[in-house]
């Protein structure tokens, strides 16, 4: 068995290249922290699939190989709110389910975003009735609304890209300074 020292970093062999690059990256990030953290956030959005009705079928299609949401870094569907970044509300939100949707949203860690997928999640859709919440924006802050009944997977991907554009504009440093 080899000694652990054999695996250590040897600058004589490997040079200072790695260290230099890392420090350069830190400098660059400190200068461009907004850009850097937003770049990281927007390209690794872990969705919370809040599938409530037929939109969830299109959501699954978006996750599958034909449309392949992993091209945009959002393939890691997390069924735990603690691990997810963006809640995709896919379907009709009834008042009874609205309680659970709100609770799951509250359990998600910051930063978090919401996509209202389809007519029902955006406005209640065709369900103008006593049982249906008339748009999930009555209980959550929605970032992107996607039209359609249900929207095609391309529309969901377009919504995701628009959310990525929105995230890229976020003033992270200013928010942190305000909070700190």
């Amino acid at each position: 068995m080899q000694k652990s020292a054999d695996f250590g970093y040897d600058s004589k062999i490997e040079g200072d290249l790695v260290v230099t690059k890392r420090s350069a990256a830190i400098d660059w990030l400190q200068k461009n922290l907004d850009k850097g953290s937003n770049w990281g956030r927007k390209n690794s959005l872990w969705p919370m699939p809040m599938g409530l009705a037929c939109c969830a079928i299109e959501l699954m299609a978006t996750g599958a190989s034909r449309f392949d949401i992993s091209r945009f870094g959002a393939e890691v569907m997390r069924f735990s709110p603690r691990q997810s970044d963006v809640m995709i509300v896919a379907g009709t939100v009834t008042y009874k389910m609205a309680l659970a949707v709100k609770r799951i949203y509250d359990q998600m860690a910051e930063p978090k975003w919401v996509i209202a997928m389809g007519a029902c999640a955006s406005t209640g859709g065709m369900y103008r009735s006593y049982a249906v919440l008339q748009g999930v924006d009555r209980i959550l802050p929605v970032d992107v609304y996607i039209a359609g009944c249900p929207p095609r997977p391309e529309a969901l991907l377009d919504g995701l890209l628009r959310l990525q554009d929105k995230i890229a504009q976020e003033p992270v440093m200013a928010t942190l300074k305000k909070a700190g």
Binding site: Y95, K96, A98, L99, G124, M126, Y127, R128, S129, Y130, A131, V132, L133, Q134
Partner: protein, 204 residues
Amino acid sequence: MAQAETKTNPKAEKTAELARRLKERFGDLIAGPEEFRGELSLKVADAERIPEVCEYAKKELGFDYLVDISSIDNYGDDPRFTIVYHLYGYGHLCYLRLKTDVSEEKAELPTVITVWRTADWHEREIYDMMGIHFRGHPDLRRILMWEGYPYFPLRKDFPLAGKPSEMPDVAFSKPAPIEGGPFVAAPGGKDAIEREPRVRTPED
């Protein structure tokens, strides 16, 4: 023509015989049968005796499957509510319907959960939507609306859009916007545009 079909159909004969046996056992309590599209309905005069009738239908007549319990709001009539029990037997493959009336003032009848355990959720749904209580039900909670919702939305005097309700930190509801609606389906239309749910103003 329907009469001729009924006579040659062994299942219809079997159903008629089961209905006759139920009537023989309970006498004046049961009126009917009323036939509609080859299916029979019996009217039970006293809602308090429903479990007894159901017990007999299950044990002696082989109606081992309670398909559904539904409720009708005859708004404006007295008694206001009708409860409908849809029975089916896997032995003889026959359907039978039992109906019984419940008045608005009482709005209560005994549960049949002692006969068919599946009555549990059916009765909860009726309680939730119509506000009819089932005496002896072990767990009569709302099933579709949330706990604490103050109305019974399937009653005829409840508006489709809903009424505002408020429970701090739990839930709220507001009337749905109905402008341009409601979205009404028109069965029997000649094409999909006529049939599907659309905005239909009354003058159309």
